[in-house]
């Protein structure tokens, strides 16, 4: 129990010191929290960059593979179209013209 008749300076210092220690501890905690949030943001950026690179790699591979298949795909679609035109009743003369146009 504090004896108020004792030292008022000691009493005031006690009040101040308790709060100062708490503020110092809180600031340290906040600094640590800020460091954690920065580190978390770095992880998120790293993840995003990883995903971006992975997707770019996959996209380029798909582009390259399909670019290689493009001539074959084009020839197959042209052939299928000619079949449809033939089935639609085009004459041999018309078919010859269409084959030349679509080649």
């Amino acid at each position: 129990m504090i004896d108020p008749l004792l030292n008022f300076e000691t009493y005031a210092a006690t009040l101040q010191n308790v709060m100062a220690a708490a503020v110092e501890a809180a600031e340290a905690l906040r600094d640590a929290a800020a460091a954690d949030l920065n580190a978390a943001a770095d992880y998120k950026i790293e993840k995003q960059e990883f995903l971006n690179q992975l997707e770019n790699k996959a996209r380029r591979k798909a582009e390259d593979d399909l670019a290689a298949q493009y001539p074959k795909m084009k020839a197959e679609m042209a052939a299928a179209l000619l079949e449809k035109l033939k089935a639609a009743g085009k004459t041999p003369e018309e078919m010859a013209l269409l084959e030349e146009a679509l080649s």
Binding site: M1, I2, D3, P4, L5, Y11, T14, L15, V18, M19, A21, A22, V23, A25, A26, E27, L29, R30, A32, A33, A34, D36, L37, A39, A40, A41, Y43, K44, E46, K47, Q48, F50, L51, N52, L54, E55, N56, K57, A58, R59, K61, A62, E63, D65, L66, A67, Y70, M73, K74, M77, A78, L81, K84, L85, A88, L97, L98, A101, L102
Partner: protein, 234 residues
């Protein structure tokens, strides 16, 4: 009975003790709040770390999903491009529009637009006013071209279209003074990827840079690098 002085001293003593207690509680609350913030940040850090770990551990699955998605999209684009090319050739042979649309399973309006653009039929302005594209075509050298955009969150596609040629270029948002990177094939891969002559590459990329700024980033500038068009703030 206590003397008045003694009673007064007790009151002061009690008041001071209460202030000490209140002060201690307030101090503890300051630390508690900060501790809560710290705990939440630590949890966020752990969550982000775990998320990254799981993402990197799932690399093969993610790659396969990305690859399949791009494969399907590009394959669809190529089919459409080939279809448009075939439609253009059939138009040159004088096949009826509806027959071309039916054979190639294309919207008749698209074949009609091609026919008008290639000069196979004259546009009847009043009747076909509604067919005017929303995105304007712009003069590029002796032809007309246009640029449209497909936004997909953190990036998307810049779609360049000239005659029956359609090229899709992936773009991503940058950081700092760079607004956007538009990925384009290097000179060595340009023709195989775009089917556009290498001699036209600079002109096409300059057209894309100009249109992107006019459409999406007024006040920005662009520069052409080896494999990208960079939209930036000078």
């Amino acid at each position: 009975m206590q003397p008045p002085e003694s009673s007064h001293a007790d009151e002061i003593r009690q008041a001071m003790q209460k202030m000490l207690d209140d002060n201690a509680k307030a101090a503890a609350e300051v630390v508690t709040v900060a501790q809560k913030t710290r705990d939440e940040a630590a949890a966020a850090l752990e969550s982000a770390r775990q998320d990254l770990l799981e993402t990197t551990q799932n690399e093969a699955t993610l790659y396969a999903a990305f690859f399949r998605g791009h494969w399907d999209r590009i394959e669809k684009d190529l089919h459409e491009r080939i279809n448009r090319d075939l439609a253009a050739k059939l138009l040159h042979t004088g096949q009826p529009l509806n027959e071309i649309a039916d054979l190639l399973r294309m919207p008749e309006a698209e074949v009609l637009e091609m026919a008008m653009r290639f000069g196979h039929i004259e546009p009847r302005t009043k009747k076909f006013l509604f067919l005017e594209p929303k995105v304007k075509w712009h003069k590029m050298n002796t032809s007309y071209a246009r640029v449209t955009y497909e936004d997909q969150g953190r990036g998307g596609y810049v779609v360049f279209q000239m005659d029956s040629t359609i090229c899709r270029f992936w773009y991503e948002f940058g950081s700092g003074s760079t607004l956007v990177f538009i990925d384009v094939p290097a000179e060595a891969q340009w023709e195989s990827h775009t089917k556009i002559p290498l001699a036209d590459r600079d002109e096409v990329l300059n057209f894309i840079g100009r249109r992107a700024i006019a459409d999406k980033a007024p006040g920005y500038r662009y520069r052409i690098e080896a494999t990208s068009v960079v939209i930036y703030n000078s």
